[in-house]
Amino acid sequence: MTTTGTATREPRGEPTGSGFESLAEREKAVRELVARTCLTMDAYDFAGYLDLCHPDFRYTITTYSPELRKDITWLDHDFAGMETLLEVLPLHASDHFLRLVMSRHLGVYTVAYSENDTRAAVVSGLQVFNTARDGGVTELLAVAKYHDVVALEGGEAKLLVREVRLDTRMLGETGSLIPF
């Protein structure tokens, strides 16, 4: 995929190559898509989350380890892999992890469209917070960036690639059965 990098064309109110009514509509669709992935995952609405994903979806969680001086990948799934992972979650540890209150806070930094208008590369800042069920104290679990590629086809936006690039490498006490 090629992206224009700096191509932030002003919405002009005319149809786009990828089937959106206007550039403004296209921009809105991209931003909402990214936000909805957080909202659905926060709500453990896995079907809703997968609905946002492209059939060729690829999801990874990666980080750089200064200990090993190299990149580490901690989770790597295609659509089917992600689907089963989420499906089986309730069977793990009496669904303890599905009771956690996780909230993903997102800020979209940049959106860059490809020349042929069918892809958007989106970089967002992410913080994941954990709120204790008992008493409700909130702590920061992780900071990361989403490096997303959004597929734009027929007036629809779908998440094609997501790399969760973690800054945080110690993830609470237990790590997480639930993807960010």
């Binding site: 992972l85 069977l91 110690m170 006490e173």
Partner: protein
Amino acid sequence: MSRNATEWRRRPTLAPTHYVDPRIYTDRALFEEEREKIFKKVWSVVCHESEAPNAGDYRRCRHMSGKELLVVRGVDMKIRAFYNHCSHRGNLLAMEPSGNARRITCMFHQWSYDTRGNCVAITRQKEGYQDRVSRKDMGLREVRTEVGLGGFVWVNVDDGCGPLEEFVGDSLDYLKEELSAKPLEIISYHKAVVNSNYKLWYDTNSELYHDFLHHHNRKIALIQPGYWDRRVHVHDHGHVSVDSMECRYDAYEGNDGRQRRLGWPGGEVACHKLIDLFPTMTFILRAPAFRLDTMVPLAPDKVAIEFRGFAVKGDSAEDRAARVRDHNSIWGPFGRNLPEDEIAIVGQMMAMKGGDDSAYVLHGREEPSIQNEIGMRHYYGEWSKWMERGASDPFGNRAIAAAE
């Protein structure tokens, strides 16, 4: 029947070797004593040689005794370990977790050391010390180190300790082939600071009764042929090993019907071999992935656990990718098993706070199968030797209860 206080505190009908007093997990004085009597006396792995592959590479590590260490590969390619501690005013020499330096220079007043721990520069030495301090007396503190048994860097901070070989005994023989057929290479590292006692993590690593906790393990092992035929074996110095079986990874939904096909040099495809080394280490081979746990106990109710994943040096790109995937599927911070184990040991500590009143913690299962708890009993047998205390009555004040 539910129990009142007297019944709750009554010793179980089991032999005293078959349970422990929960205070061994919560008591501050016992913890300090463990540090003196055990952590500062026995061998443990602090990292793998592939974490410092080139001449001049260093790796900052923490020994289980709490001591900061600097593991350095010299220009002679030999690995040495030093206190990560400047001889001048005690500053930490390496602040980065890893790096490469021909000379290790302290940032504070810029004293320098070579990779053998010799002090090679004292800034304005003559002006300040005249002939009163000599560089040759200002070397780093080097600790007993051996690199072996799979390329691990073993350290003992007690200069008077016996050899590593004697400490490990025959406990690792069971993995000898796998650890020597080809060199290992690190592929994953992460750590977790967990509000629990380090021995609770070790217990969990050495008992398989809690396979019930892991949906993944129930599917791939517990309900599969061969599971119950496995036995737990004890070795000198408190170490334990567990027989292998061929696990059926394809039976776990999350693997999408994929069995682990890539094996491990010298080992069998989909084998599961487990060795626990007293007091803080676990080697687990689930071919094609290999995991090592080490721990730095920070307080009775706090432990830093380090998890390392290994592959085989010279892997093809595909093989490497398969090992990484299989390691992470259960053992990474987003894996299926590790978080489950961790909530269990955190849960144990939540309940044990205020420990002297709580029930005895049982290690009482005896059966000719993998769920025999002889592993934990063997551990506490060793623990009692070093500590000169029985684990079921560490303060010698439970006798009255026993007499009841």
